[in-house]
Amino acid sequence: MDTFIQLTLNGLTLGSVYALIALGYSLVYGILKLLNFAHGDVFMVGTFIGFGAIQLLGGTVNPIVPVWTLLILITLAAMAGCAVLGVVIERFAYRPLRDAPRIAPLISALGVSFFIAYSMQLLFGSELRNYDTFSLDGGALYLEGFDIGNVRVPMIRIITIVSAFVMMILLWLLVSRTRVGKAMRATSFDREAAAMMGIDIDKVIVFAFVLGSALAGAAGVLFALRIPTYATIGFLIGLKGFTAAVIGGIGSIPGAMAGGLVLGFAESYAQGYISTRWSDLLVFVILILFLVFRPQGILGKADIRKV
C-alpha cells in the first residue's frame, strides 16, 4: 500500500508539471491549430531562468531574501522571461507563416525548438544545473511536510502540486469567466467570424502565447525545484506535454489538465509496477492508442464535418 501511495504521489507531482506544459500546447492549438513543438524548449528556458534568478538572489545556502519570497520571485522571473520568449517566437517564427500551408509552421516550430536548445547549450554548456533546494533553510523543504501512512509528503512536493493546481484553476477562470477569455474562445471557435465581430485576432494570439509560455516557465521552475535541468531537456518533456494534451483532448483546457495527470500516473505506475526501462515506451504507446482509437482525447469533442 505504501508503494502505491508513493507512486501516486510521484505521479501527481509529475502529472502536475505535464499538465501545465500541456495547457500551453492546448492554448496555442485551440486558437491557431498549430502544434508548437518549441514549447518544451520554452519550458527548458524557464528552468534556466529560475536557476539564474536563484544565483542573483544569493544562492540557496545564504539567500538574500526569505525562502518563500525566493520561490515566488524565481517563479515570476521564469514566467515573465518565458512569456517574452513566447511572444518573440510567435512574432518571428509563426506569424509570417500564418497563411502558409499547415506543414510550414510545424517545420518552423521544430526548427525553433532545436535553435533554442542548442543555443542554450552553446551559451551555458551541457552540464546539469541543480537548484540545490536541499540547502534552502537547512533542508526544510524536504524534511517538513506530513505523512500518509508510512509515506512522507514533503513540503517541496506540496509546493509543486498546489502551485500547479492554483495556476490551472486561475487559467480556467480566466478563459471561462473573463472578457479576454471569451475572445480567446471565440477565436478558437471561428477565427474569421471573431475578427468580423471586432476581436483583435493578433492580440488574442499573442495573449495565448504569453499565457502558454508563462505556464511553461512556471512548470520549468516547479520541475527544477526537485530535478536538475540541462539544455536539451525540453525535447522529451515537451513531447510528453504534447502527449498529455492529446490524451486530454488537444484544445481543451480541462482536457490538458486531465491528460497531464493521466500521463503522470501512467508513467509512475509503469515505473513502479512494470519496469523503469519501459515507462517512456508506455507513454508513447498510450499516445498512439489515443490517436488511433480516440483522437479527440478524454475531454475533447469529436470533429464533426458537414458534407
Binding site: T3, Q6, L7, N10, T13, L14, G125, S126, E127, L128, R129, N130, D132, T133, F134, G139, Y142, L143, N150, V151, R152, P154, I156, R157, R226, I227, P228, T229, Y230, T232, I233, L236, S268, Q271, G272, T276, R277, S279
Partner: protein, 393 residues
C-alpha cells in the same frame, strides 16, 4: 572476342588494385615512420569531458596535466603543447572517435592523455593503437579494458589508476564493514557503472548481503520511482553515476521519501561542489595527496596557477599520467637521437617508467601482467555536514 575483352578488363582491375594497395601501404608506412624532431614543439592530445555533467572531471584533470607539463617538460628538455578534445558524457562514445581521428591526423601528437571514461576508451583505443599512439588514462577504471580474455582496450592503452576489479570489491567490503545487510545497486546502462556494480555485487552476494540491482538510462534525471523501489530497510544505495548532480539529486530524493539508506557514489560522483548530502560516501583512486610531504611544492605550485580551484582527487592522477608520458617521450627522443621516429617508440617506453615519489603516494610502476599500476589502492570518503570529504577507508 567478348571473353578476351572481359579478361583484359579484369587484368587491368587487378593491376590497378595492386598498385592502389601498394601505394596505400606505402602511405601507411610513411605515416608511421615520419620522424618528429624533439627540438620542435610536440603535442599531447587530451580527451576528456570538459563540458556537460562530467565537465568538472575533465577540467580538473586538464589543470593538473597543464601544470605537470609546465613544470616537468623543461626538466626533460621538451617543448610540449596540450591540445584538447571535448567528449561530454551526454553525447555517448561516438564523439570519442571523432576526437581520436583529430589527434591521429596531427603527426606532432606523440601521446594522448585520456580518454577519461571507460566507454570512450572502448570507442577509440583501436584507432589509437593502429596509429601507434599511447593513450594514458587517469580515470578509466573498467576492468575489461586491461584484463580478461577479451580486453576491450588495446596494448597502447595504459592507466595510472586501478580498475573496478579493485574499486568494486573495496567499496563492497567497506559497506560490509559498516554492517550492510541490504544493498541496492544501480547501473546506468553504460560500461563504467555496469562494471563497478557487477564487481561490487559479486562480493556483496558472496558475503551473504541481500542485493537488488536497478538499471536506469543515463539520461534520466528524476529518480522518484527508483527511490520508491529502494526498500525501507536498505542500508546503502550503490550509485556509480558519472554526474555528481545526479548523486546529489538521488540522495535528496531518498531523504524526501524518508528512506534511511546512504548513497555510496564512486569516483564519478566525487565532486564536493555538487554532491554534498552529509553521510553519503564516495570512493576514489587518489587519497588526500597533501598527506605526503613531498607533494607540498607541487600542490602549492598548482594552487598558484589555479587560485579559484579546490584540491580534488581527479587531478593528481592526471599529473601522474603526464609525468609518465613525458618520461616516455624523453626516452623515445633519446633513443631516436633527438627525434621520435615512430609514435610506437613512446608506447614501448611507457611500461618501463618508474616514478619514485608518486604524487599518489609511494613508488609508481606498471604491472608486468597488464597495463595497470602495481599495488594501487582505492580510498573512501564520507561527506561531512560542512560538505568536506573526510577519508574514512
Amino acid at each position: 572476342m567478348k571473353r578476351r575483352g572481359m579478361s583484359a578488363i579484369a587484368a587491368v582491375a587487378v593491376v590497378a588494385a595492386a598498385l592502389a594497395s601498394t601505394a596505400s601501404a606505402g602511405l601507411t608506412v610513411a605515416a608511421k615512420t615520419q620522424a618528429v624532431s624533439c627540438k620542435s614543439t610536440l603535442k599531447i592530445g587530451f580527451t576528456a569531458p570538459f563540458t556537460g555533467g562530467a565537465g568538472f572531471l575533465g577540467n580538473e584533470q586538464l589543470s593538473w596535466a597543464k601544470y605537470a607539463v609546465k613544470t616537468l617538460a623543461p626538466k626533460y628538455g621538451l617543448k610540449i603543447k596540450i591540445i584538447t578534445g571535448d567528449t561530454p558524457v551526454e553525447l555517448g562514445p561516438a564523439i570519442a572517435q571523432t576526437v581520436a581521428q583529430k589527434f591521429i591526423a596531427d603527426k606532432t601528437v606523440v601521446a594522448v592523455f585520456g580518454p577519461s571514461t571507460s566507454g570512450n576508451v572502448v570507442a577509440s583505443s583501436k584507432a589509437f593503437f593502429d596509429a601507434g599512439l599511447a593513450h594514458i588514462s587517469a580515470s578509466a577504471t573498467r576492468t575489461a579494458l586491461t584484463k580478461g580474455l577479451t580486453k576491450s582496450a588495446t596494448p597502447a592503452f595504459f592507466r595510472v589508476v586501478p580498475g573496478d576489479y579493485i574499486q568494486g570489491p573495496h567499496d563492497a567490503h567497506f559497506m560490509i564493514k559498516k554492517g550492510a545487510k541490504n544493498v541496492v545497486l544501480f547501473d546506468f546502462q553504460e560500461p563504467y557503472s555496469q562494471g563497478l556494480a557487477d564487481a561490487a555485487q559479486l562480493v556483496l552476494k558472496a558475503k551473504g548481503v541481500s542485493t537488488t540491482r536497478l538499471s536506469v538510462a543515463n539520461t534520466v534525471t528524476d529518480f522518484s520511482s527508483f527511490v520508491t523501489k529502494v526498500a525501507s530497510d536498505a542500508d546503502f544505495v550503490f550509485f556509480p553515476t558519472q554526474k555528481p548532480a545526479d548523486a546529489q539529486n538521488f540522495a535528496q530524493q531518498l531523504i524526501e521519501q524518508g528512506k534511511k539508506a546512504k548513497v555510496f557514489g564512486a569516483d564519478g560522483a566525487n565532486d564536493s561542489t555538487a554532491f554534498k548530502v552529509a553521510g553519503s560516501f564516495v570512493s576514489n583512486f587518489a587519497p588526500d595527496i597533501s598527506q605526503f610531504s613531498y607533494n607540498k611544492s607541487i600542490i602549492d605550485g598548482w594552487k598558484k596557477d589555479n587560485p579559484k580551484e579546490t584540491l580534488g582527487s581527479f587531478g593528481p592522477p592526471a599529473y601522474l599520467a603526464a609525468q609518465v608520458a613525458l618520461n616516455a617521450i624523453k626516452r623515445a627522443c633519446d633513443q631516436g637521437g633527438g627525434s621520435i621516429k615512430d609514435r610506437r617508440d613512446v608506447v614501448r617506453n611507457i611500461k618501463r617508467i618508474l616514478v619514485k615519489n608518486s604524487i599518489l603516494g609511494g613508488i609508481f610502476r606498471f604491472s608486468t601482467k597488464s597495463n595497470d599500476p602495481l599495488n594501487a589502492g582505492f580510498y573512501i570518503f564520507e561527506i561531512q555536514r560542512d560538505g568536506r570529504y573526510k577519508l574514512v577507508g
